[in-house]
Amino acid sequence: MKLKFYNKKITGILSILPKNKVYFKDEMNNYNFTKKQSLKLAKIMGYSTRRVVNKKTSVSDLCVFGLNYLFKNKLLKKDKVDALILVTQSPDYFLPPTSNVISGKINLRSDVICLDINQGCAGYEVGLIQAFMLLEQKSISKVVILNADILSKKVSIKDRNSRPLIGDGASITIVEKSKTKEEINVYIKMDGKKYDSLIIPAGAFKQPTNSNTKNLKKDKFGNSRSLENLLMKGDDIFNFIITKIPEMLKEMYKDLKIKKEYFDYFFFHQPNKFILEKLANTIEIPNSKLPSNIVENFGNGSGITVPLNICFNLGSKAKKNNYKVCLGGFGVGLTWSIIACNIKKLSFCKIIEFKK
């Protein structure tokens, strides 16, 4: 699906990270590897430091903390918010929607539309699409997108495939109508036939929790996980990303009559360093334009990696300058999307720590 939007812009991005840091070197004894093998793999995959929440922290806690920071610092006016979109795979409850919970906690007007979207690795792009669509309405001028996940709670401690990668966090993106001419081009595709390439098989309504779903079972490679844990089929995901993203980029270059050099940055989702470097190599984008430093510093926080990538690698520069960027998300669903847009003199672009 190709979508085109006009006269809308991102005006601020805030990333919220738990202060708790977990180091791969401290965890590697949990995995079925020798120390030497673990350290080698860590270098290739970018395993190093992850940010994870404590047991009591939920997605709404991270989002409310960030929103209150914006209100307190006069970066966002509460009464100007018309819609609140939360993209998460780790809601506070099955019901009610967590966006409603957040709206209540920060005391938003009752005519603010609250929406929960279940998306992950392409969740930033899906959230932006929803925000752009809402902004087509006359009555909506400002949309707040919340991307937040705390999936570290769902990864087995004995799963060396996923555990060392997964990080937690949230991001807040403000999207508004623009008075200057802006064109945004969106490409998005989904392949539900591969829904089980990234999945938490049990715990919802299809396969409710019971005593069996909690049992850890060892797979043929020595990883132990239960049906309530995240399962990632690494080879499926690798092949999907390496095939689909270059195809989608080619389609975009052709449609928009541009070359890859048009973009100042490619801010892509960061599943791990190996995949991202191979992808950069395939699409012939230098590392300086396609940062791959999120997993090693914070872990893969699902839908927050793209906004965190912008905050970490542009930071305050995004307040002064204009950048032509290609945003890219790919993963759970399977879903993949790229967005060609501008990052223009944001009112804020920073990372804060959730200190509870």
Binding site: T34, Q37, L41, K220, F274, L279, T282
Partner: protein, 75 residues
């Protein structure tokens, strides 16, 4: 070249005898995707090559002879 590749495989999976297990490395689950990541990185370093992403598929790593064939493509 074959000996050099076997040495790399042995380093990644010290408990496997790759002189006896030369085939069906993926089919028999001797190597998983994370072993491949390490092996690819070691091969790239040892032969000073950069294996393209579209060559990183299971069938190119399912036997010693297929890995040798792949490396030869880049040399």
């Amino acid at each position: 070249m074959e000996n050099k590749i076997i040495k790399i495989l042995k380093k990644t999976k010290p408990n496997i005898n790759f002189l006896k297990n030369k085939k069906d490395l993926i089919k028999k689950s001797i190597l998983d995707s994370f072993d491949l990541v390490t092996i690819i990185s070691e091969i790239e370093k040892a032969f000073n090559i950069n294996i393209k992403a579209n060559d990183i598929i299971a069938k190119n790593f399912d036997s010693i002879s297929k890995i040798v064939k792949l490396v030869k493509k880049y040399i």
